[in-house]
Point group: D2
Chain length 386, copies 4
């Protein structure tokens, strides 16, 4: 397999990010299976037409069923709003397409399991969009853990802090509506932290959480792109139906302790997706706002020069880096998607499941759901209950 | 009142810190009531004799009862191991002495309440040793909160990370024995975080925690000073009876969310006593390893220059700073005690209770106990239960 | 003008960077004139053929004269090694093509002036590749200076530190040979600092410098890409004919003082292209290894919260940012070229000269030459001498 | 020798700093020779009387001749304004006293040489007050250099940035008057950088500098303490006769390159006394505003975890640290003087000259003078000329 024809559903924030990735893979990773940008789908004809032209897709459609009906399309990329994931994915599996689905996989754990069952029965390749795994600095953290260089892991603490809705007049966009987004900071931001915990530490045994909606109602919005929105602060108000912040504690299966915090109410933090791992032999720290860096500490450094090293993960020794620029020349958020979709291309080339796939998506959804139950029932919830 | 004669029980780590503070107060804060370093008490005659000479105390005794019996002594400073606090404090109160007591006030909430009752009935001045309040950068955080410059507080997250017992061969010092220390990271480190939370945000409503002892038994120790110890790794082992790490979530009375983590198993963190506060108008961040700095963010900064400011709290506008050095010339850990005991001197001069006092000590103890109960009973515990 | 057909000479490090930029402009800046990637030129037929395919060029040639002879090509992008710039640029001007030329414009000041004369006589648009101007954080620095928010500028200090040739066995690549590269750290790294100084502060009046070649000879190299090379350390050695490090002091025309340092012998610095500006009302600091950040200080901040702000230049208020991702989602080195070539596209659309153009290139070359003369003659050299 | 009786001339900023040091030495370094604080001298009777009481001196006088006439006094500490150093030191040497003299040793190179000659002829111990050497992090830098762990030194860059006179209405204090202070930023701040260069790298061969006085005249001042002053901005103006900023380049005797910058016009920098050393095997970075930290990089770290380590120099492996607090508990500016004067006490105990002594003071003065000559004569000046 040298090429794969892609059809993509969604053309906003994630659609743009994925498009750039598809375009850059052949340029920076020429040995990988080459994605052919065939068809893009969106409900608004003008919008999707412009996106097709701008992003470089050969064709565009307004109904995803049409896209699935095209026998040439081998891979379907779903980055429509969360509440549409399930229906499209089930249909795509049925049509025998490989599937990339943005996170969260679905609005509920049950739905995500149904999706996993569908892709496994269909025998297609499937992947879920946890792009932060693909920052070279995060890959380095994974390598250090896997090679035992941090020893036994005792702690994982993670926080995803944003501040785009601190203003109570910020409008009620779809990300603040439960029926479309499923949840707020928890599913949007916390989901990434949970996936990183799974990737770097392993499975959780039990969780307990708390959450809050600080601003209970907001002016309705006119439109939204990325994390910004247009609207009048004098527009009629409607209730916010998701969490502004969710925190939880976890115990991992291997005994490590975990602390998680997701909030959209942390002024000064535009996108602080950060974690720290403490092991018996060392520690690592990561902050996405400085995504090219990993801070690394080893207990066996000479006793007079012990300290966290600021490693710029742009050396040849670091994942993906040789494909880009010389050491010290950084990459950005956009490139995490290039690496993510490269993993899908490599998996296709090697005829294996990409990682993270729907199993990882379900595992994440299980933790999200367990935390929600722990909040509702005010008690520790074991993952085996879910 | 121009002078106060002090008797101090304890002469190790804290004894040294307090002695420097008493000596420096008249030099750097000449307008305050002057502490006269009269008598120091310790069980080991040679040790306390040497300490008296070295630290500058006029006399030394080996029995604290002797010290309390001295009618000249007006203020008793208790920094003996935690399990001795109560008995000495009760006797000191009975003797009508003003009392400074190191944290934690006592090993149990009940004991600390008994101590509070005693000092209130005796009508003496009392203070508890939460020294981190007295870093100028922490005082600045308090000022910003109090003046409303951070708006309504939504979040408080705090972590106290150390790494001095990560090595499983580190010996079983008294800080790892429940009968002497009361608890491990929770009472030693967590107590400081709880006090900062009370100082900066206010009372908590309910908590839930988790804890772990990663290394279950250790070689017995020969001796301990500060956080280091002497001993052979081949010494016979005995059980560690306190927690290595304790985490908890909290809901504050005013609706803010709290996240707390205390651990002695975080390699690379010698003394990371850190917190962040997120309010509706801004945020602040503090890390004791850079104790002269406070990071400050305001939402109403001009839109093209929004960012956390690194404020070096050494300007005349900052608490205590004019007494020390010109702007940019930092102070250290030792000076937090100078400020702390200065507060006691000022309170004596103004005939008021110093802050924090035994009430604050009890309030902290109540949270410590509530968290412990929440761990034992695996449920949220309200502070009103305690 | 809606589209412009581009021919590019060079296909290695810079060729790749420019190609990505040409591809991304229509996607992220759809309103700009669209570059059409017509022909790429390189001496090695296989290499350039593969590059054409990989980077997305319609055609490829091995002789740049052939490319110039193509009447369809309107814009020539020259990123061949420095010693080839002049000949190609003169011919391109003669052919009436618009020209983008990588820095340094030429190996000597005289050559660069000849090139400027040629493009001005030909009446074509011309631009020189000082890409660091186009980091949004650098644009912010410029904005603050231009708007007078830093006051009168007193100081500019800048240093470009790399470490790729600290190992004395690193081979003698073309960047270490005077006849090809012109100079070493001075022309490669110092040139960027000089251009930033011109951009941010203004013209210099006089300079004095010093330089050193720490490793006098090196094993000859087999091949080079980016800043890495292949070769055997047992290969025969040959002299290094350029500087490893060059420092100079400068006085600006408006009275500000300048300090400049360029070195390839600073271990731990992969690509620290950094500057600081001190004005009467504030300061800014930039480090390319954290290229999304600008540190900003204002003297008129409230007296208790004065400190450098860490501004993440990813907000809508910052140049280019809205075209990319939401606030807090960073860009990388590659995107500086997108912005740089976007400037050329915009200039074409507005029928004006892009900035920086060959005038800026000559101005930079004059300072480079003045510094070299100051080193040779061990004296202050005025720019008016050049 | 177990004790030494000290007489001190000066009781302002430095007098206070030295007093604290004398008081703390017996407490924190009980094995050293003990300084006995006998007599303090100052011209203002009320001021010096209060200082004696506040700082803990046994007696006070208003004429330093009286102090020198006291046969009990063995060590004279001179921290009066710079223009008084020479006369007092010469008399003290004649009286056979050991001498500690604040930097700069004198207003001119000639004077400093006369002082050195005097102490050597008198056979007394002598020391000069370059306190920054005594930060544990700077001692660590020295250790790494001395042990060859940074390899051959290629570069030293240093900058001492302050901002206390950026406001043109800040009054004309004595530090801005040549007849009292000798020079401005050059002798005050640059002298420290030069001494650090001597300490860490070695002797210089030649220098060239530039300087500027940005604000030519200022309102006359009423009084000054530390770096602050009282005065009216409407007071009559008088000329500033020292430099606001001085920069210079240097070549070290062993071939390393040096870059130095001292300024009082860098907004946001209260006291940024910073340097970086680049060697063939590694680099270190220091900034006094974070004086407990040294950043350290080694070229031979494993290739995937190379990066500057942030070493907190508070471990037992670091100079002086065990005398203070446990690891992670920092010290401040004041403690640099404790270490500095401890060196004098140790030298007395071991009957050797302390380091840095008047030789180092003269060496520093020679560089200061060479830079001044290079500015006057606009040429490189060799140290052998001086």
């Amino acid at each position: 397999m040298k090429k794969v024809k892609v059809g993509m559903v969604g053309y906003k924030f994630m659609g743009k990010a994925h498009s750039q990735a598809y375009r850059d893979i052949p340029m920076f990773f020429p040995d990988a299976v080459k994605p052919v940008m065939k068809t893009i789908c969106g409900r608004d004809r003008d919008g999707v037409s412009q996106a097709a032209d701008q992003f470089g897709w050969e064709a565009h459609v307004t109904d995803w069923r049409e896209l699935l009906a095209d026998p040439e399309i081998e891979l379907v990329d779903i980055n429509a709003p969360s509440n549409a994931h399930k229906e499209i994915a089930l249909a795509a599996a049925k049509a025998g397409k490989h599937i990339f689905c943005e996170k969260p996989l679905a609005l509920t754990l049950e739905d995500s399991r149904e999706m996993l069952k569908a892709v496994e029965e269909a025998g297609v390749k499937h992947m879920v969009g946890f792009n932060y795994r693909f920052a070279p600095a995060v890959q380095l953290a994974k390598k250090l853990v896997s090679e035992g260089r941090l020893g036994r892991i005792h702690h994982f603490r993670a926080w995803f802090l944003q501040d785009w809705i601190v203003d109570p007049d910020f409008p009620l966009v779809w990300r603040l509506q439960k029926e479309i987004a499923g949840s707020g900071s928890h599913g949007d931001l916390g989901a990434h932290l949970i996936d990183l915990a799974h990737f770097l530490v392993g499975e959780m045994e039990e969780v307990i959480g708390m959450s809050e909606t600080f601003v209970k109602e907001r002016p309705t919005a006119d439109s939204m792109t990325g994390l910004s929105a247009k609207g009048s602060k004098d527009a009629p108000k409607a209730p916010v139906t998701v969490d502004d912040a969710t925190l939880f504690l976890a115990r991992f299966a291997d005994g490590a302790l975990g602390s998680f915090e997701a909030t959209r109410f942390a002024p000064g933090h535009r996108c602080t997706n950060a974690f720290e791992i403490n092991g018996s032999k060392g520690s690592v720290k990561f902050d996405f706002e400085r995504m090219n860096e990993l801070e690394v500490y080893f207990t066996d450094d000479a006793e007079d020069v012990q300290g966290f090293r600021r490693v710029l993960a742009t050396d040849p020794a670091h994942a993906y880096s040789e494909a880009w620029w010389p050491p010290g020349h950084t990459i950005g958020y956009g490139q995490t998607f290039t690496h993510e979709l490269l993993e899908f291309m490599r998996a296709l080339g090697e005829d294996r499941q990409p990682v993270p796939n729907f199993r990882d998506g379900v595992q994440c959804q299980a933790v999200l759901a367990a935390v929600e139950r722990s909040i509702d029932e005010r008690r520790w919830v074991k993952l085996t209950e879910m």
